[in-house]
């Protein structure tokens, strides 16, 4: 089941498109990824990560305020164990290279097949290891 932004979750979805990210969370839940939290901007995401340390973050790049690339950088500095999947509709080759250099686990462009996304999130979670 999806969790609120104040509850500890294994997966954190960060995207400013509320409809999109909420629906995505629901679909992931249907695929048994039920520990998913959702936030809609970079600063809230960083606060959530600091408070709850999710295992995997699915991060949009273009968001108002703190951008996805900055969030990725901060997360990898502070919590290198957390895997970050970039999931953007504004991708470019340059940003792909930058994200992977900063330590992103994967770089996916919207729209993506839900099964592929779910699979990638599970692979990232598996890499982090530890108890669910």
């Amino acid at each position: 089941m999806s969790v609120s932004a104040t509850t500890t979750a294994e997966y954190l979805l960060v995207d400013d498109e509320v409809d999109f990210v909420v629906t995505l969370a629901e679909r992931l839940e249907l695929r048994h990824l039920d520990s998913v939290a959702v936030v809609h901007d970079g600063e809230t995401a960083l606060g959530y990560i600091a408070a709850h340390t999710p295992r995997v973050v699915v991060l949009d790049l273009r968001m108002p305020g703190t951008g996805g690339m900055e969030v990725l950088k901060t997360v990898k500095e502070r919590h290198p164990e957390i895997e970050v999947i970039i999931f953007t509709g504004h991708g470019s080759e340059k940003e792909r290279m930058m994200a992977l250099e900063l330590g992103a686990f994967a770089y996916l462009e919207k729209p993506v097949d839900i099964e592929q996304l779910a699979r990638t999130m599970q692979e990232a979670r598996a890499r982090v290891g530890g108890e669910p």
Binding site: F20, T23, L30, G91, K110, P111
Partner: protein
């Protein structure tokens, strides 16, 4: 496109172009005419002035020059004749002083005197003594003139009056032309008498001809009444009156010009022989005298004509060459301007495309997720009436979303390829991609499009965006040329080891031969109001920039075939343009 063409052909190109192109930039014809007129004026006016001045100066000099020898000849002849007559008068004067009247009346003595005279002067015909009453007292000569009386003859009266006299040439009693020289003296009784000698006119003829070097001259002697004293070549026989105005008495030799009875100008030199009735005349037709002037004049006119022709040829060639260079420079400048304009335009389009693609992507993602969730819920729910219908509807929505996603991806790729960059290109994929842009139109118009690929066509290294632009333009033109249901065949082939070719052939209206040679020129269009005339020009420029070649063949009413030959690898350094990427 215009290499190696002759000047004439190049002139025809822009001469015709100016008629057909509605563009105020192209005023080469007027410029060409201005250059020719101004240069010709600057060159030819001084030349003509110089020739005219020379013409008149030479003519004047020649006219003066031909008069000089005539004046000299007449003066010399007059002096000779004067000398001759004075000498004969001296001889006769000596005789009357040396011999008494009675001695001279003695026939034997006169014969002895005449014999002595003949020994030194062959021209004496006879000699006689005439008394004051006109009777001839003694006579030695071939004629029987002993008892003749000359009382009524003019020369007799003149001699008695003036003391000496040189007569005109006359026939007299002997009936052949001769002239007489007579001197008056006084006998022992104080009575006047005359010693007279006559002379053959051959002496006048000899003196007349002395010093003449030109057969065309007519030289003769007339008396003061205009009667010929010697024969003439042109004006009459001896003792005939000439049709010539008798010059007034003057010491100096005069040269004048007058028309002959036939209306032709002649130059006449006149010299009066002092103490005689003789006027020495030298006469020649002016056109004969001025032969050398006419030769020079003709050469001068030929020089002018040849100079004008040479100058005009040089001016024409120079003006044509200059205009062609200006035109080439103009075309180059225009081409660069159009390329810059085109690049900027494409960059704007690229930015717009990228922006639109990105903005659409987000709502598209929401639709995708919502529809996906709907599908998930349907999938995980129990069966209910019309579940399959719902599922197929959701699948249709997801299919459309996927189609939109493909379009936005293509737009983004198009925007990314605005820069010139080398990358491996599969020509077949590239052409299919280009045809993808036109698939709606081809479907609506039921066009038959075939792609045929020869085996072994290499993957080339070139600029994807530019090649898309090239083939999009050519195929667009092919679409314009064919009617609904038309056919376009695309053939991709290997051209040797280093090139590949793409041939796009349509079965459209074709291109007339007179348009084929101009089809890649900027502003050349057959679409009248709808075409800019830049498409194929830009296409040509891009293909050249990519190191390739493009050619066109056509059969009016049958087909048109564009062939683009591309190198497997383009040379570095052929890249330009600017980054138009707006990725984000």
């Amino acid at each position: 496109m215009t290499h190696g063409k002759g000047l004439g052909r190049k002139v025809r190109e822009w001469w015709v172009e100016e008629d057909s192109v509605d563009n105020t930039l192209f005023r080469y014809r007027r410029l060409w005419v201005s250059i020719i007129v101004s240069t010709a004026l600057v060159s030819l006016i001084p030349l003509c002035i110089m020739v005219v001045v020379n013409y008149y100066q030479y003519r004047k000099a020649f006219q003066e020059e031909v008069k000089h020898p005539m004046r000299l000849l007449a003066s010399n002849a007059r002096q000779s004749l004067q000398f001759y007559l004075d000498e004969r008068l001296s001889v006769l004067n000596y005789i009357v002083r040396d011999k008494s009247f009675s001695e001279l009346c003695d026939q034997k003595e006169l014969t002895r005197v005449f014999r002595n005279l003949k020994e030194n002067h062959k021209d004496f015909i006879d000699v006689g003594v005439i008394e004051a009453d006109g009777d001839q007292r003694s006579y030695v000569g071939p004629y029987g003139l002993l008892d003749k009386n000359y009382n009524q003859q003019d020369w007799f009266k003149e001699t008695l009056l003036r003391g000496s006299f040189v007569s005109d040439v006359f026939m007299g009693f002997r009936k052949f032309p001769h002239f007489a020289i007579a001197v008056r003296s006084v006998n022992e009784d104080g009575q006047a008498y005359i010693l007279r000698a006559t002379f053959d006119t051959s002496i006048l003829i000899r003196i007349r001809e002395a010093g003449n070097t030109r057969a065309s001259r007519d030289i003769f002697i007339i008396n003061r009444e205009g009667v010929l004293q010697t024969p003439s070549k042109t004006v009459g026989r001896i003792l005939e009156r000439v049709k010539l105005s008798v010059p007034p008495l003057a010491k100096a030799t005069r040269i004048r010009e007058e028309r002959d009875p036939d209306g032709r100008m002649r130059v006449i030199g006149c010299a009066h022989v002092g103490n005689s009735p003789f006027i020495y005349i030298v006469m020649e037709r002016r056109d004969t005298l001025l032969t050398s002037w006419f030769t020079l004049r003709n050469r001068l006119l030929w020089f002018l004509a040849v100079s004008v022709v040479v100058i005009m040829i040089v001016i024409l060639a120079g003006a044509t060459y200059s205009i062609n260079r200006i035109r080439e420079a103009d075309n180059k400048r225009l081409s660069i301007l159009h390329k810059v304009e085109y690049t900027a335009k494409m960059a704007s389009i690229g930015r717009l495309a990228a922006g639109v693609a990105h903005e659409i992507n987000n709502p598209l993602a929401i639709i995708n997720e919502k529809a996906g969730l709907f599908k998930d819920l349907l999938t995980y729910s129990e069966d209910f009436p019309k579940k399959e219908k719902f599922l197929s509807t959701v699948e249709a929505i997801l299919g459309s979303v996927d189609r939109c996603a493909r379009i936005t991806r293509r737009l983004l790729r198009f925007a990314k390829h605005m820069d010139i960059r080398r990358e491996p290109i599969n020509l077949e994929s590239l052409l299919r991609e280009v045809l993808g842009f036109l698939e709606k139109e081809s479907a609506y118009r039921s066009l038959e499009i075939n792609i045929d690929v020869q085996e072994g066509v290499p993957v080339i290294e070139s600029d994807r965006g530019r090649l898309q632009q090239v083939f999009l333009n050519i195929i667009n033109n092919a679409f314009g040329a064919v009617g609904d249901g038309g056919r376009i065949n695309i053939y991709i082939a290997r051209e040797g080891d280093n090139h590949a070719s793409v041939t796009i052939r349509d079965n459209g209206v074709g291109i007339p031969p007179e348009h084929l040679q101009n089809i890649f020129e900027p502003f050349f269009t057959t679409k009248e109001k709808h075409g800019t005339g830049l498409g194929l020009s830009i296409t040509y420029g891009i293909v050249e920039k990519l190191g390739g070649k493009i050619r066109v063949d056509s059969q009016v009413g049958e087909w048109t075939k564009f062939t683009v030959i591309l190198p497997v690898t383009i040379e570095m350094g052929a890249q330009d343009g600017r980054n138009a990427s707006t990725a984000g």
